[in-house]
Amino acid sequence: MGEPRHENLELMRCSVVDCSRPARGYGILRVQPAGPVDAQPGQFAMLEVPRAGTLLHRPMSIMDAGDTLEFLIREVGQGTRSLVSLQAGDEIRMIAPLGQGFAPAMQGQREVLVGGGVGASPLIFHAARNPRPRMIYGGRTGADLVMRERASRVADLVEVTEDGSCGVEGMATGPLSDVLDAGGVDRVLTCGPVPMMAAVARLCADHRVSCLACMEALMACGFGACLGCAVPSRQGGYLYVCSDGPVLDAMSVLFEPLLAAAR
């Protein structure tokens, strides 16, 4: 309470290095910030949407942070459409990093990552910074596994598709269940659609394995000012995705109301 959550909430000017299109409807945006950005996997940025006339900025997980910052963006509306159409040399402002990321894996800790859709982004960042983990990567069809190449460079990849067009047929929880049954897993990190994360959290709870979920919520600010990003807490009340998370102990999240809202 007594301390502000953020040292610096200045908008940082970045110039776009490139925005590649790994697949239809997706973009990988790489920007060069004015100064160095010390980001942890799981943290996010609030990106200004240039030239779209939108008011609020858009939260995006950081997929890589070194000299440049990288984001994996799926087009779902006006803001993301405008972001993936950025071109080299364009300017974009953002606040980064924000939120609580994944705690780094401890020495010898065995992790399994479970990602779906653009949820692969923070997991790839985490994998790249930690001893090569196993990663279960799910989607409806093979085309949804847009980061499969890149993921396989940093993790032992298990691909899962609902239609079986790529890897195992079914849901990500299938292979996860097998892995957990086999034992020896210390923690599971998950990021993806709410139904997937809810199922992963339940499986982990059943197996008494700790689970961290990298959550999403509609956000107005991204830094604790609006109280918009509430998710129900199992302890009562709410957790705030932008400041308590986005990485939350999956046990502390009450997924049921979120699932109902998504139906």
């Binding site: 953020h6 909430l9 008011l55 609020l56 919520a217 604790g224 000012a225 609006c226 109280l227 509430a230």
Partner: protein, 308 residues
């Protein structure tokens, strides 16, 4: 951060270094979002709406974007008056922040208890009565709609606390001028306007309201013309200061509200995209006044109507 005499303004007994405040619910408690030392550079901070007991707020989704605006149904989530008095106020006091405490309650009695409790603390510049929050049934919007109730509430709170009282008007009052005049007569030191306007958005793909509470309060540039008109109307109807609120994000917006008759402004939604907005506005305002050799005091109410 510049703060010359040119920017000085008064809101009732409060003398502010500059006319730029942050709006309640958009700047936390003044020390948690941005450091208290930064908040001290503002004209004042209006803290997040406070109630006697802590409140968790509404279920998500709580916010959504609309054309040039946003809807929110936060539900007045807050830490409650005790935590505020014990954990927040000392930090703000220490940093020299000018604090306006936004409060709400579901009854006149609770309003009085809240005011009494806060009056026991040092370092509060004024209370801002939120009689107008559209997002919770007990948020007290009925107080803000009726001149008699608003006046009675104002009188009670003043009696209970001796702190200066600012009444925050709702644009949904059937007759906002009467409410304004009634509050003035009841002893309010100033009025602030406007709170959000109830709105709705629907996700046509799922056929669901975009907010779990169905309706929420509209804020941001979209409501600015409405807010400016109300500030103009109200400031001509009363002789106490009016604090302008609604879609302000630049020095031009601030000047428009001052010219319309506001003695100070509050910045809300604009800080969500750029939390340095209030400081940028203060600097730009200082430059504007400097280059035109004028002062905020001179600008207030200077709109040239009736000259054509």
């Amino acid at each position: 951060m510049v703060s010359t005499d040119r920017l000085m303004t008064r809101v009732g007994p409060l003398v502010l270094a500059n006319p730029v405040m942050t709006a309640s619910g958009t700047w936390g408690y003044g020390h948690d979002v941005q450091p208290a030392a930064l908040s001290a550079k503002l004209g004042a901070v209006c803290t997040k709406g406070l109630s006697l007991e802590p409140r968790p707020g509404n279920p998500p989704p709580r916010v959504c974007e609309t054309p040039a605006g946003m809807l929110n149904a936060i539900g007045l989530a807050n830490i409650g008056v005790e935590a505020f008095a014990l954990q927040v106020l000392p930090v703000l006091r220490q940093a020299g922040v000018t604090v306006i405490v936004n409060i709400f309650a579901k009854s006149v009695g609770d309003f009085a208890r809240l005011a009494e409790r806060l009056a026991r603390e040092e370092g509060i510049g004024a209370l801002e009565l939120n009689v107008s929050c559209p997002n919770v049934h007990e948020g007290g919007i009925h107080f803000g709609r009726d001149p008699h109730m608003a006046a009675a509430l104002t009188r009670t709170v003043i009696g209970a606390s001796s702190l200066p009282v600012v009444v925050k008007l709702t644009p949904e009052a059937p007759d906002i001028i009467s409410v304004a005049r009634a509050c003035e007569q009841a002893g309010a030191c100033a009025l602030s306007a406007i709170n959000t306007i109830r709105g709705m958005a629907i996700d046509v793909g799922t056929r669901r309201p975009r907010l779990a509470m169905v309706y929420g309060g509209l804020s941001g540039p979209a409501i600015r013309p409405i807010a400016l008109r109300i500030v103009h109307e109200v400031s001509h109807a009363v002789s106490i200061p009016v604090v302008g609120i609604g879609g302000i994000g630049s020095v031009e917006d601030t000047l428009a509200f001052l010219m319309a008759g506001a003695s100070a402004v509050q910045i809300g939604t604009a800080s969500f995209a750029d939390p340095m907005t209030p400081f940028r506005v203060i600097e730009d305002l200082a430059r504007w006044c400097e280059s035109r050799e004028t002062t905020v005091k001179e600008i207030i109410g200077s709109v040239r109507t009736g000259e054509r």
